[in-house]
Symmetry: C2
Subunit: 332 residues, 2 copies
Amino acid sequence: MQSRYFTINDVPQGTPGRELFELHETALPDLAEGEVRIRNSWLSVDPYMRGRMSGVKTYIAPFTLGEPLEGAAVGDVIESRHPRLAVGDKVRHMAGWRDIAQLPGDQVEPLPGIEVPEQAYLGVLGMPGMTAWTGLYQIAGMQQGDNVLVSAASGAVGSLAVQLAKARGGTVVGIAGAPEKLEWLASHGIEAVSYRDRNAQQLTEALQAACPEGFDVYYENVGGVCLEAALNTLRTGGRIAVCGMIARYNAEGPAPGPSNLAMVLIKRLRMQGFIIFDHWNDYPRFLEEVGPQVANGEIDYAETIEEGLERTPDAFLALFEGANTGKMLVRL
Amino acid sequence: MQSRYFTINDVPQGTPGRELFELHETALPDLAEGEVRIRNSWLSVDPYMRGRMSGVKTYIAPFTLGEPLEGAAVGDVIESRHPRLAVGDKVRHMAGWRDIAQLPGDQVEPLPGIEVPEQAYLGVLGMPGMTAWTGLYQIAGMQQGDNVLVSAASGAVGSLAVQLAKARGGTVVGIAGAPEKLEWLASHGIEAVSYRDRNAQQLTEALQAACPEGFDVYYENVGGVCLEAALNTLRTGGRIAVCGMIARYNAEGPAPGPSNLAMVLIKRLRMQGFIIFDHWNDYPRFLEEVGPQVANGEIDYAETIEEGLERTPDAFLALFEGANTGKMLVRL
């Protein structure tokens, strides 16, 4: 059986171009004992993957040039030599960026039994959703009634963070760019603020207008002016969960940090970075809490879908242009 | 009775000049019920006072132009209309920057009974010492064996932080400037690293040489290149206690923050600012733990002393030139 997969052919500097990605085809070997073969139906593309293209080990090994890229995917088992997995099982695994995956069954997990579309396990009930929940509650220690600010608020992570925060009272403000994203936020009861054409001072003023009492929690996905404005508008004792800094992922060189970092001292802020893989033991608890809310429609989620394996690099690159509302997915 | 005291006559921009400070003399009124009169013997000058000169309320009210400046002081009660305080009592209070203080006895505390020179209650057993202890243990959560980095390591706060850290094993590195400060650190078993003539990259390399395994805790007193180099050399899961950012206190405008703040995410760092006044309930516990160590000489402390009330502004201004090893004091 043939498998088509993407590689990168170089370590990109700055914003990667489409030509970085190469589509290959290979004949898969027979299944070894314990392996399964999966026909992927949905692929996930996520901002963190940019870090894996840097050639440098950070919290996760870099992609190997010429080897298939990796990422979350869901699909159907089409052949199995693993005792726990049978043909027809719906599964999630990390052998994405390809159509047919073949890997040890121990690296594959059956989809949980909650009644949601399968691709939800790549988004609102997958890594991005788990990231929103962990950052808000475990890292930022959000309490009932806290005022919460979220950047990239209509993205895969942010769009759940704002809804979880909203359900616990308090004012929730989401920063986004495109008009349709601001509308999506507003339609979910979130105060939507645009970062477009605003410097840090102007964004600060817009946030102050949206939430004059200031924020108890800032959920950080972006960096840059968003962080600077957040530091200005947090209250004393505020907490920042640093989930991402997408503004910097394609930077070609160091750029200055916020000029108001002394706010950390003046306001006794706590700022904490986290990586969701460190917290994966809590996934069943997350699923138990958030899964039913997604299934019964209390929590909404948006998706931006590209069609076909060939579009996977385009879907990935579009993340950095802010082209997605909600989870960016590729449907095969 | 006459009291001589300092005021400021303007809100300084940038580094204050000596002419900002004016010495006045006034006749004190008779003691009101509940008041005491104190002959100050030692005055404290501290970097945080610069913030009170800004005319802006931060975590503490600004100094009022034309009114006596305030700050920690110790002295002897020379007259009392307070039931708890008698003539001859040694006390600590916040009516510094003057020779004779008159204030409600409820704002005055008798010195604890540990056998140390009285001015130690302005330094190693006072606010700076309490700040070192709180930042290291309560804020940064230092554990036995942690490698610890301290900036302004020979200052009033840093010089206790390095000794407390050293007593719990691990490698302790202190950043300082002047040769005599580096010597003081080395003589206490601390790896001393100079920030002088080093940019962030060069300081990073010097810190890596001093502690190749990296740091678990960074005790932040300075900001600027020290923070940038610390972010580069902290280990995954490292904690930063932000006690001060003296490099910025006299800045006339915003300056960029560290260009590598994304390390907070990559290394899952926790960075937390704190103000010691929020933690003052723990002072008895601090005194119980650290007091005996100071009294029996296990913990050393340095002092830099200016003589005479007239020199108080000079002592204060010298803080920003790094002129002090250990606590900067004025002896009256």
